[in-house]
C-alpha cells in the first residue's frame, strides 16, 4: 500500500513537473568564451536542469581544432518536443564570456532574443536595438567572493534570474550531478556562485 502511495505522489510530482516544462517556452542557448572559462560546464548545468524539469534537452560543444586559450562554445536546447538539430545557429539566448565571442555571435541572435555578457571581460554596448541586452560582472563577482574560476556559474545564476529557464533548486541538483565525485568539495562553491548570480541586480548601463 505504502508503495502505491509513494508512486502516486511521485507520479503527481512528475506530471506537475512535466506540466511546468510544457508551459516553458523552447529555448536555444549559445554560450561562448575562451577555452578554460567553463563554458561547457555552464551549458551542462542548464541542460541537466532541463532534464530534471522533464524537458527534452541537448548539449553540443564546438570541438574544432582549437588551441589552448582559443574560443569555445556550446549549444544547449531546451524544448517540449524531441530536438532536431542540436546545433544552435540562431540563438534565443547568447551568453558571451569574451569579446571575440560576442562579436562572432551577437548578430546571429534572434530578434527579441537575449544577450547576457560578462561585463568584466566585455565592455560593450550593443548596436542592435531589437535584442534585450543584459550584463553582469561575473568574473569580478567570482573573484570578490573567493570563487575564482566560477564566473561561468555566476552567469548561469544571472541567466536563471533573467529567463527562469528552471529553478534554483533544480540547478543545485544539476550541480550535484555534474561536479565529479572526486571534487565533492566544489559543490558548495558552485552553489554559492549560482546564488550570487541569481541575486545580483545589474545596473542598466547601456542606457536602454
Amino acid at each position: 500500500m505504502s508503495n502505491t502511495a509513494t508512486e502516486n505522489v511521485s507520479d503527481a510530482v512528475r506530471s506537475a513537473t512535466r506540466e511546468a516544462a510544457n508551459a516553458s517556452p523552447d529555448l536555444n542557448i549559445l554560450l561562448a568564451g575562451f577555452g578554460g572559462q567553463g563554458i561547457l560546464f555552464a551549458g551542462k548545468l542548464i541542460a541537466y536542469a532541463g532534464l530534471l524539469d522533464g524537458r527534452e534537452v541537448s548539449w553540443l560543444p564546438s570541438y574544432g581544432p582549437e588551441m589552448r586559450g582559443g574560443t569555445a562554445n556550446c549549444s544547449v536546447c531546451l524544448a517540449r518536443t524531441p530536438i532536431g538539430s542540436p546545433l544552435v545557429i540562431e540563438p534565443d539566448v547568447l551568453v558571451a564570456f569574451n569579446r571575440p565571442s560576442y562579436d562572432s555571435f551577437v548578430d546571429k541572435v534572434k530578434p527579441g532574443g537575449l544577450v547576457l555578457v560578462d561585463k568584466t571581460m566585455i565592455d560593450v554596448c550593443p548596436l542592435r536595438e531589437d535584442i534585450r541586452f543584459e550584463s553582469i560582472e561575473a568574473t569580478q563577482l567570482a573573484e570578490d567572493n573567493e570563487l575564482k574560476g566560477l564566473a561561468n556559474v555566476v552567469a548561469v545564476g544571472k541567466l536563471l534570474q533573467l529567463t527562469g529557464f528552471s529553478t534554483v533548486g533544480q540547478v543545485e541538483v544539476a550541480i550535484e550531478k555534474s561536479v565529479s565525485a572526486k571534487r565533492h568539495d566544489l559543490i558548495g562553491f558552485n552553489k554559492k556562485a549560482l546564488a550570487i548570480g541569481y541575486d545580483t541586480v545589474s545596473p542598466k548601463d547601456c542606457d536602454r
Binding site: 541542460a47 534537452v57 541537448s58 548539449w59 530536438i83 532536431g84 546545433l87
Partner: protein, 369 residues
C-alpha cells in the same frame, strides 16, 4: 525504469557496450571518438577486462579478431581514416565468421579530411568495409539513447549470425549530450555459449579452427555461398527503420543519423505549411530497409534522400524504389551540418515536382530561396 542521465553519445555507447557484456576493447585514439576509448580505459580494468591502446588501428582490429576467436564480446572504435586501416582485419573477421563490434564515429573525408560530423563513409560501411565478397551489419543511431540501445543490438546480432557489426555514428552524435536511460547490465558469463570458439578442447571434442584462408576454390566458393545464404535471411528478417508521417506522405524523406534529426525539424515545418511529407529513417543501413521504402511507394510520388555527403545512400533508395518514382538528393559535406531551413527548401522543391541532386555551396543557399 532507470534514471535518465545526461551523457555524451560516445560515453553512452561505451557504457552500454560494457552493460552488454563487453569486457575487451582494443583501439587507437582519433577525433571525434576518443571519449569512447577514454571511457573504456577508466572502466574496463576495474571490471577485470582489457583496455589496450594498440600501436595502430591495424593491430587493434587484429586483437579484436583474436579475442573474438576466444568467444568473448569485444570491440574497437575509430573514425573514418582509422576505419579504412581496419578494413583488412574486418574482412578477415568476415571470412572467419567472427562477431565483434566496430564503431565508426564518421568524420569528413576523403583522406585525413576534417573532424566535423559527416556521413561520408556510408559506401565504405555498406559496400566494402574490407575486400572480398561479404558484409557487416551497419547500425545508424540518431540519438544518444540509440547510441546506447544499438550497442547491445550490435553485439546480439553479431553473435547470432557470427558476423562483425558496425555502428556508424558521426561527430555530432558522438560529442553531444542528451538524456539517456542505460540498459540493465548483462553478466558476460550468462551470454549464450559459442561452441565454435577456440576455448580449449579439454580433450573432449575436435579442434575448433578459426581461419579465413581457403586455397581450394570449390571449398571457398561453398563457404562464400553459405555465408551469402545467411545474408539473404538477414535481409529478410533484420531490416529496421523508423517511420514518421509516412501513411499519407506524397514526399518521403529518407535520412539517417544526424541528418534525420535535421530532416525531422524541416518536416515538422513543412507539415505546418500543409505539405504531405514523411520520413523513413533507416536504423539498419545494412541490411537496408528496402521493405519500408517499397511499401511507401504506394502513396509517395517522390523520395528525397538527405545526407551529410555528396549522395551515397541515395543509391540504395533508388535500388529500393526501382524506378517507380523520382528520387532526389540534398546534402552538405565536409563537416557542414545543413540547417532545417535548407532542408525545407529542398522539400518544397521536391514537392513541386522537381527532381534534383542538390549540393549547395554553404554561402550561396539561404533559407527561403
Amino acid at each position: 525504469m532507470g534514471e535518465k542521465i545526461l551523457m555524451k553519445g560516445n560515453e553512452a555507447l561505451a557504457e552500454a557496450a560494457i552493460r552488454a557484456g563487453c569486457r575487451h576493447f582494443f583501439g587507437y585514439p582519433i577525433t571525434p571518438q576518443t571519449e569512447l576509448a577514454a571511457y573504456m580505459s577508466r572502466h574496463l580494468p576495474k571490471l577485470g577486462g582489457t583496455y589496450l591502446q594498440a600501436e595502430s588501428e591495424i593491430a587493434a582490429i587484429n586483437m579484436v579478431y583474436g579475442a573474438s576467436s576466444a568467444g568473448v564480446r569485444v570491440m574497437t572504435s575509430s573514425s573514418s581514416p582509422g576505419v579504412s586501416l581496419k578494413g583488412e582485419g574486418i574482412s578477415y573477421m568476415i571470412g572467419a565468421d567472427l562477431p565483434g563490434l566496430i564503431v565508426n564515429v564518421n568524420r569528413g573525408g576523403p583522406g585525413l579530411g576534417g573532424i566535423q560530423p559527416s556521413q561520408s563513409d556510408y559506401w565504405m560501411a555498406t559496400r566494402a568495409t574490407g575486400h572480398g565478397d561479404g558484409h557487416v551489419f551497419v547500425l545508424a543511431p540518431s540519438t544518444v539513447q540509440e547510441m546506447a540501445d544499438l550497442a547491445r543490438k550490435a553485439f546480439d546480432l553479431g553473435d547470432r549470425y557470427r558476423m562483425p557489426a558496425m555502428i556508424l555514428a558521426d561527430g555530432l552524435l558522438g560529442q553531444m549530450m542528451e538524456p539517456v536511460e542505460l540498459p540493465e547490465p548483462l553478466d558476460p558469463a550468462a551470454l549464450p555459449p559459442k561452441p565454435w570458439a577456440t576455448t580449449g578442447t579439454q580433450g573432449t571434442r575436435e579442434h575448433n579452427i578459426i581461419n579465413s584462408l581457403s586455397l581450394v576454390a570449390q571449398i571457398l566458393e561453398d563457404s562464400v555461398i553459405k555465408r551469402y545464404e545467411r545474408y539473404v535471411l538477414i535481409k529478410d528478417v533484420e531490416q529496421m527503420a523508423q517511420l514518421e508521417y509516412v501513411e499519407d506522405a506524397e514526399l518521403v524523406v529518407v535520412a539517417y543519423g544526424a541528418a534525420a534529426r535535421i530532416a525531422r525539424s524541416a518536416i515538422t515545418a513543412a507539415r505546418e505549411e500543409g505539405i504531405k511529407v514523411g520520413m523513413i529513417r533507416p536504423i539498419t543501413l545494412w541490411p537496408f530497409p528496402t521493405k519500408a521504402i517499397k511499401n511507401a511507394c504506394a502513396t509517395a510520388r517522390a523520395f528525397l534522400s538527405v545526407e551529410l555527403n555528396t549522395g551515397q545512400m541515395v543509391d540504395d533508395v533508388r535500388l529500393a524504389v526501382d524506378g517507380s518514382v523520382p528520387v532526389s538528393f540534398f546534402g552538405h559535406t565536409g563537416g557542414i551540418v545543413p540547417t532545417p531551413a535548407e532542408v525545407l527548401v529542398a522539400i518544397r522543391k521536391a514537392c513541386a515536382g522537381e527532381t534534383f541532386h542538390l549540393l549547395p555551396y554553404h554561402s550561396t543557399l539561404k533559407a527561403g530561396e
